[in-house]
């Protein structure tokens, strides 16, 4: 899953020039902005067939690939 998220972020937000590491900040570094957030949410919902609870929506939960994957995992379980 992490690999898919990494690939998507690399292609969609880093101009296809590489991909982020698991711990690289995405929102606090400005790699992903408001429009990017919409695209990321829609990617996660479609690719992993999850709905992400509004209580999970924090910068902290979404700032790295590692944490995004954790949110998706948790959403799958509920």
């Amino acid at each position: 899953m992490k690999e898919q998220i990494r690939e998507h972020i690399g292609a969609a937000f880093m101009g296809g020039k590489g991909a982020p590491s698991d711990a690289q900040p995405l929102f606090t570094s400005g790699i992903i902005d408001s429009l990017g957030f919409i695209r990321l949410m829609s990617f996660l919902e479609k690719t992993f067939e999850v709905s992400i609870d509004v209580s999970q929506i924090t910068i902290e939960n979404f700032d790295t690939v590692e944490r995004i994957a954790r949110v998706v995992e948790a959403s799958r379980r509920t």
Partner: protein
């Protein structure tokens, strides 16, 4: 959804009957004099409108979203006081729902019951003189102290501000990229350092009060922050998704009522020796009005179904907002034209409906801004523009 159709029809009918019976007194005069109806506000609360999506433990009804939409459509069908509706929308989508989604149990216990039972009015203070469409460029600061924050800044066009008890305020808490540097606060009226300007006069929605709000060394405790520090922009986007999806559900009912009036007028009116119903230039307008109404309604339902399924509906909420706001303006104009000279007279109420409708293409994201965001999302989906950054809250 189908199985609930009868139930939704009943909710819609009940809300329409309630509104027609209770909310329409003296609307023309109150519009002229910008007279806000507090009895109307309380009546709405008694009917349950302020707490539709709030859980029973906080005084609400915990209704299903589709039932909420049916109720709002009924309200629009029966209520001619669109200013009151505008205040209700600002309260619901800019304040109550934000608390509902992001408030802690303590914040909900403190704030929701009063906002639901009609004692209090909520407001959303996001826009600033230098940042409207590009909301994330806001400059109001919230500086951290040992036990809370100090707010400094100015907000404008805040619906309900002159009457509000609870202000949902977005402010900068960090110096990084805007999207991860905003935080959201619930600030009570009367907090030292918070001041509200006298109500501003406006073109339409005149029975809904609006004004600037100032924060000057306004100290709030940490417990006034909703959600996590730095997550305010994400919360704002969630709030805007609610607002754009649902703010014009009432307008759907309003357009339905307006169209019935127009059809009756066209069926009845004989201009000189010629019945209007034989004039295609007139009857075509009826069809166009219906088309806009139903297209907008379809987009509204699409956004609502996504939200009911727990999915994000950013794009769909923008499409619904664009379609219904533009439909509201176009239909109000057609309604006036169909009624001729009488339509232009204040007595008919149609000029007020046109004035009221015009604001909807500006608030909650102007049509142009939303179209721009929709286009950027489409373009970003095609490889060519990968990585392009968007402005605004969209």
């Amino acid at each position: 959804m189908r199985g609930h159709e009868a139930e939704h029809d009943e909710l819609k009918r009940a809300a329409a009957a309630f509104a027609a019976r209770t909310l329409n007194d003296d609307v023309a005069r109150r519009d002229r004099e910008e007279d806000v109806s507090l009895p109307g506000w309380k009546a709405c609360a008694e009917f349950g409108l302020q707490g539709m999506l709030v859980a029973p433990e906080y005084g609400g009804a915990g209704m299903d979203l589709r039932a909420v939409v049916a109720t709002l459509e009924g309200l629009g069908y029966g209520c001619r006081d669109r200013g009151l509706v505008s205040s209700l929308n600002a309260h619901l989508w800019g304040c109550v729902q934000t608390l509902n989604d992001f408030g802690s149990a303590g914040q909900k216990v403190e704030l929701l019951p009063g906002l639901v039972d009609g004692r209090w009015i909520g407001a959303n203070a996001m826009t600033e003189p230098e940042s409207g469409s590009d909301a994330l460029a806001l400059r109001t600061r919230a500086r951290r102290t040992d036990d809370g924050y100090v707010l400094d800044g100015r907000k404008c066009f805040v619906t309900n501000a002159p009457a509000a008890e609870v202000f949902i305020v977005y402010a900068r808490t960090g110096d990084g990229p805007a999207f991860s540097s905003l935080s959201c606060f619930a600030v009570r009226a009367g907090t030292p350092g918070l001041s509200v300007a006298p109500p501003a006069s406006k073109m339409g929605l005149r029975t809904s009060p609006m004004s600037d709000v100032f924060f000057s060394e306004c100290r709030v405790p940490s417990s006034a922050r909703l959600g996590a520090e730095g997550s305010g922009a994400m919360m704002l986007m969630s709030t805007m998704e609610w607002e754009r999806s649902l703010v014009l559900a009432v307008a759907v009912g309003g357009m339905e009522y307006q169209l019935e009036q127009c059809a009756e007028q066209v069926a009845r009116r004989v201009a000189g020796n010629h019945p209007l119903r034989q004039r295609q230039a007139v009857t075509q307008k009826l069809a166009e009005m219906k088309l806009r109404l139903e297209a907008g309604r379809g987009l509204l339902y699409r956004a609502v179904e996504l939200k009911r399924a727990g999915k994000s509906a950013f794009m769909e909420s923008m499409l619904a907002k664009i379609a219904l706001s533009e439909a509201g303006v176009a239909n109000a104009r057609d309604a006036m034209q169909i009624h001729g000279g009488y339509g232009y007279m204040s007595e008919a109420g149609l000029e007020r409906e046109l004035r009221d409708a015009l604001g909807s293409t500006i608030h909650s994201g102007a049509t142009e801004v939303l179209k721009d965001a929709v286009a950027m999302l489409l373009l970003a989906g095609s490889a060519g523009l990968a990585g392009r950054k968007g402005g605004g809250t969209a």
